[in-house]
Structures are given as C-alpha cells and as structure tokens.
C-alpha cells in the first residue's frame, strides 16, 4: 500500500531524512518511532504530498507522490502534528468544509460526518466553536477530519498527544479497529503506544531508519543477555557474590528492595533451573523467579542513542549505582 524507497529530504544544507526505505502492507498498522526531530514528520509530509522529497520515490496505493499527487491525496487521511483546525468554525462546519475539500457531497458527506462524530464521540460538541474546545476534543476533531472520507491509507502524526489516559485508550482501540481494512502509519515517541497498537515498528533517529521489525522480535533481537529476576526471603550479606559463582551468570545486581536480585546470564542459556536449585539449596527462601525481557523502551534507547555514547554512560552509571548499593549493603 505504501512504498518508500531511498527517500532523502534536505533543507538547504540540513539533511532531515536520509535514504529512508520501508513499506506498509494493506491493512497493516505501522509505528514510526523516534525522538523529536528524528524525521518522522518530514517523512509523513512527503507521503501526504505536502512537500516533495529531494531524492527517492514514495508511492501510495501504487501512485507516485510526485507525479500523481491528486490520486495519492484522494486516498489519504492525514492528521498533522498540529491538528489543522479553524478556530472560528464549529465542529460541524469544519467537518463539512474538510469533507467538501475531499469532494464529498450530499449523502456521502452526511453519512461520513455521522460516522466520525459517533466514532470519536463528538456528538456533544458538534455545534460548539473549535476555539472553545479542550485539547482532547481538538485532537479528536483533527482525527475525525482524517477519517471523514474513509480513506484506505491513514497517516497520523502523534495522534494521542494531549489526550487523557481514557481517551488515549479509546483512540488506540479505534486505530486497532482500523487495522485490516486500512493501512495506518502513526508516529509516536511513546513506546507503549507502538507496542499496544502496531504490528510493526520503524525506529528512526537522526533521519535514518535504525530498525524495522515487530515489537516482539525487535526486543528479542536486541536482547544482549537474558535477565532473570529473583526475590528471596532471607538473603545472606554476600548474596551478590555467591550468585556470581553460578556458571553462566555474567553479572548480578541488587534491584531495589532487599532480597531482590537481577541476574544477567549468557545469551541463549536458560539458567532458571540452576538458579532455583542454588537458592533453594542454600535455604534463602525463594519467593519469586522470573525472566525479564527487555522492554521496547530499552530497545528504543539502545537503538536511538548508540552514536552518542549515551548507552555506555547509562551502562556505566547503572554499574556504579549497583556497586554503590552493593557497598552500602556490605558496609
């Protein structure tokens, strides 16, 4: 449905995105994940024909964004970063205008409006001026505008910004319900959002794609070591050192509460049995044992901050922290 190939965008000497390549299948929901200024909005603006790419091709539903922008625009619903709302119009007036711009008239316009007003629960505010709406409602009106003409492709730039948790869940459910019939690209810098809603994640940083994969595989691929967390009832003073003696254990950290340890194991070895046997054998009173998979948040930080040496800094500080706790405990 969407094909982006080697797209580069330069603003003068500044390169916003470089050689970005990815595809979105029909019915797929893809998350565009990256810190602010990574090039998410630029990519979306190129796909929506708001601006042309400097190099490379972007195609939507088989139409080239540069050569047949009208065909592309007809098939896209776009929610920009700042919802494009006219403050002086009421919600109904605004949606009427947005619909007419897309060539909707009469019944089709009325049906479309009824559908989005119901779907985004805008019924209560339909006759109010947009200027008087709260941030959450405005965001929903912006989303309503993108869904109004029921386009096969939806491009949503940070759709849940400014919403309260209940609304965020509603919008995510809505996006999930669009999967299958619509192809959706949504950008976000909130990680749980990407995992909650999307089948695939594209991680972008400094204008380059760093990874494309499913949320699960992404975190599996990046797991450098298996981590196991255990909680024991009566830990000995030198518990950390003792655990380190188990073969296959790379490192042990004290995690927060006393008696809870985070054990880093060699990749590909499942040490749960060995650890359980060791702890039970030494009568520490095993309360809990579980594997900890890396959250996408860790993945994200690792991927997007590799160049700047932040990862090393993070690792170092984590080590220092655990050592501090360590010495504190022993002292």
């Amino acid at each position: 449905m969407i094909e982006v190939q080697n797209v580069t965008k330069r603003y003068g000497r500044l390169t916003a995105i470089e050689a970005v390549t990815f595809t979105v299948e029909k019915g797929e929901v893809l998350a565009f994940l990256g810190p602010n200024g990574a090039g998410k909005t630029t990519t979306m603006r190129i796909l929506t024909c708001f601006m042309p790419a400097t190099e490379g091709t972007a195609r939507v539903a088989g139409y080239d964004c540069l050569e047949q922008p009208m065909e592309v625009k007809r098939r896209i619903g776009y929610l920009p970063e700042t919802p494009p709302l006219y403050q002086e119009l009421t919600v109904t007036e605004y949606l009427t205008f947005a619909g007419r711009l897309r060539g909707l008239n009469g019944h089709r316009l009325a049906n479309g409006m009824a559908r989005v007003i119901e779907r985004l629960s805008l019924g209560e505010v339909r006759h109010r001026l947009i200027a008087n709406l709260s941030r959450g409602y405005r965001q929903r009106v912006g989303l309503a505008q993108a869904l109004l003409h029921d386009p096969p492709v939806l491009i949503l730039d940070e759709p849940t910004v400014g919403l309260d948790p209940k609304q965020i869940i509603e919008i995510r459910e809505l996006i999930k319900s669009l999967a299958g019939s619509h192809s959706v690209i949504l950008s976000t810098h909130i990680l749980p959002e990407a995992t909650a809603v999307c089948q695939r994640v594209v991680i972008i940083n400094n204008g380059r794609i760093v990874a494309v994969d499913t949320p699960d595989r992404l975190s599996a691929r990046l797991r450098r070591s298996e981590k196991i967390s255990i909680t024991v009832k009566s830990p000995p003073a030198d518990g950390l050192d003792q655990l380190r003696t188990i073969s296959g254990v790379l490192n042990v950290f004290a995690a927060g509460e006393p008696g809870t340890y985070l054990i880093e194991c060699e990749l590909g070895r499942d040490l749960r049995e060995d650890i359980a046997r060791f702890v039970v054998g030494h009568n520490w009173g095993l309360l809990e044992l579980k594997t900890v998979s890396m959250t996408l948040e860790d993945v994200f930080l690792r991927l997007t901050q590799r160049e700047e040496g932040v990862e090393q800094a993070r690792e170092a500080s984590r080590e220092k922290e655990s050592q501090a706790i360590d010495t504190e405990r022993q002292g």
Binding site: Y11, R45, T48, C49, F50, M51, P52, M70, K73, R74, I76, Y78, P80, E81, T82, P84, L85, Y86, Q87, E88, L89, E93, F97, A98, R100, L101, R102, G103, N105, Q145
Partner: protein, 256 residues
Amino acid sequence: MTPVRAIIAKELRSYFVSPVVYVVGCVFLLIFGVLSYLAVVNAGNQAIRFMQIQGATAQINLNELVFRPTFYSTAIVLLLTLPILTMRLFAEERKLRTFELLMTAPIGINEIVVGKFLSVFVIFLGILGLTGLVPLTLSVFSDFDWNPVLTGYLGLALMGALFLATGVFASALTENQIVAAFLSFGLLILIWLLGALGSILGDTPVGNFISYLSFIEHYDHLVRGLVDTKDLVYYLSGIVLMLFLAHRVVESARWK
C-alpha cells in the same frame, strides 16, 4: 459543491466571524460618505458663486464636481484598506498550520488561490455596493449622467480586484500578517508611482509603456466614462499575473 466553492464559503464564514470585515467596512463607508459629502458641499458653494457672478440659474455638473473627485479619493482609500482584508488569507493559514489541510486535500493550488481571491472579492463588492447609496440619494434630488458613474464603479471594482490580487500574492509570501499588509501597501504604491515616472519620461515608447503599467491612468479613463478594451485588458491581465505569482509562491514554498 466544488472545492473552490467550499473554500469561498469557508472564507466568507471566517471573514464574517472576525471583526476585521466590520471594522474595515465601516471605516471605508464612513470615509466614502465624508468624501462625497464634502464634494457635494463644494459643488453647492461653486453653484452659488456661479449664480452670483452670472446671475442666472447655473447648470451644475454633478459628474464633474461630485463623482469624479470622490472616485479619485476612493482609490487612495482602497489602497489603504484592501490589504487589511487580504493579509490573513495565506499568512494566517501558515501561522496556524491549517495550511496542511488544504495542501494535502485533493485540490490544486490554483483552486486554493482562486477560491481565496474570489471570497475577498465578494466581500469587497458587498462593501462597494453599499456606497451605491450615495449616487442613488443624489439622483433623487438632481439629474446627472449615470454612465460615467457606472463606468467609475466598474473602474473601482477592477482596480479593487487588482489590489486584492496583489494582497493575495503578498499574503502568500509570509506567515506574518503585518508584513503581508505592508508588502501590499508597498507594491501598490510603487505601481502607482510608475505613472508619475512615465510622465517624467514623456511621450516616448518607454515612457508610455511605464505609464501603461500604472493602474491610475486606466482608472482615470473609466472614471471619465471611457470604456476602452486596453484598460480592461490591463486590469484583467494584472489580476491574473498577481494570482499566478501567488500560485508560484505557494508552490515553491513546498520545495524549501
């Protein structure tokens, strides 16, 4: 409803909920009223003087004494008021980021430009139409030739349209409304001054050409009651040129 009509409808709605149209309209009508009142009083005084000298009932020519000076002054008033109406058209959309909606909708830039121009032209015609009360009132009390009045209004409408098109172009250049208004003042005054420059150069091909570029000479013909195709072509091509420039500016802004 076509996209152009949708844009016109939306712009008219936006104009009428903002105070700008009311303020600009009221001030313009007030000034027009004062100008024509002064012209009528002046005409009255001249008539009395004429009678004292000649001792006979004088036939005063309202066209020459009232309408012509009023039309000339109105040109200046329009130059100062119309940019206020056009300044928001593109600049505001840029500033408030609503432009993305228009630019990602399946409509051409020419439709956006034409829609915006026509919407403000409709407003201008409405305000101009209200000034028609002055000649209507005068026609109750006296006789005058309607033809030059009507051609004068045609001149006002065409020149106003040219001012508006220039304003649309200026608004497309910037996202700051004040800058947009000031740019159109500047452009219009410069085009006006071309007339003076042309007359300095005298009756040479270059001088005539430069004079031709200024809108004031063409307006003068229409106010005097002369409808010449050359003048109509001047205004229409000027309007088209300005709208074309606006189109180019909007288009090129995408590439930056």
